[in-house]
């Protein structure tokens, strides 16, 4: 059994929240001749946690997201527990 479990947290801005960085990159890609209608740049956070029951890992990481890792005003999060 592995020493730790890797948990990936994807934090995405809500669609209603503007992403000026993504918009700038989209313009640059179009300037380079690529057919790109939209770009969103988001965050990935990778955590190493003690192995355990996936439900309790998910509950713990959800609390981390709600408290610190994501801002519920502007961001949604998705938790992926890697096997």
């Amino acid at each position: 059994m592995a020493d730790t479990t890797t948990v990936t947290v994807n934090i995405r801005r809500r669609p209603s929240i503007s992403d000026p960085q993504g918009a700038t990159v989209a313009r640059a890609l179009r300037d380079l001749g690529h057919n790109v209608s939209d770009v969103r740049i988001d965050k990935t956070i990778e955590l190493q946690v003690p192995p355990g029951d996936p439900d309790s890992i998910r509950a713990a990481v959800t609390e981390m997201c709600e408290k610190l890792l994501a801002n519920p005003v502007m961001e949604d999060f998705e938790i992926v527990i890697n096997p």
Binding site: I17, S18, P20, L68, V73
Partner: protein, 230 residues
């Protein structure tokens, strides 16, 4: 009134705030973010800077600094609590003010004097000012673009919780004089005895600095008494 000016690792406007408040007749001390006793203070300023390196999101880590339990206690007791620039971002993350500060619309760090129109005097920032006053104050931020959920915005606006908006020198408020994309040109937000402002009034207190228009805002803060429910 004695003011605690909180110093986080990465704060950089704390000395200016103390200088400004004392120049206006106030009394202020620097307080380290690990202090857990603010019983000697009846008001708080969270100054500008880059608390905890702005890592993760601006203010996201600062809101869990040990001193914040005391800041929350003082805010709940009715004491004036003011966040300037990064301090505004921290108050939003801490839930003491609604909304969030996003990156500037044009992804530029903005450092220049801008104009603000006083929209309401019902705040610890503007109680000594007059509606329609136009102030020239330096803006110095990368994440100054205020937004909030639509229902929160509507309630902020209908309750008159926007004391200051970005304007031109004549006080006209529209998108052409919105420096950073802030929703409805919002430059400051108020919630009872708590307020946040993105520009820096403490850098505009003497005409030799180019403007003394920040005085009226800090005088308002100093005049705000505990539990006055401005």
């Amino acid at each position: 009134m004695k003011t605690a000016v909180v110093v986080f690792p990465g704060s950089n406007c704390e000395h200016d705030v103390v200088y400004a408040l004392e120049g206006l007749g106030g009394s202020a001390d620097l307080v380290w973010h690990r202090d857990t006793d603010l019983s000697g203070y009846d008001s708080v300023v969270l100054p500008g800077g880059f608390a905890h390196g702005d890592y993760l999101r601006t203010g996201a880590i600062a809101r869990f600094s040990p001193v914040m339990a005391e800041v929350n206690r003082l805010a709940a007791s009715g004491a004036p609590v003011l966040g300037i620039c990064n301090g505004f971002q921290i108050l939003c993350e801490a839930g003491l003010l609604p909304g969030v500060l996003l990156q500037n619309r044009d992804l530029k760090f903005i450092c220049k004097p801008i104009h603000l129109r006083v929209e309401s005097t019902n705040s610890i920032l503007t109680r000594a000012a007059h509606v329609g006053d136009v102030l020239e104050i330096p803006l110095n931020s990368y994440e100054g673009n205020f937004t909030a959920a639509p229902d929160e915005l509507a309630s902020l606006e209908s309750a008159g919780q926007v004391p200051l908006r970005y304007s031109d020198a004549s006080g006209s408020v529209d998108e052409t004089n919105n420096p950073n994309g802030s929703t409805n040109n919002i430059a400051a937000v108020s919630s009872g005895n708590v307020a946040g402002i993105m520009p820096h009034p403490e850098r505009a207190i003497e005409s030799i600095l180019g403007s003394a228009d920040g005085r009226i805002l800090l005088e308002s803060f100093l005049q705000s008494k505990v539990s006055s429910h401005v």
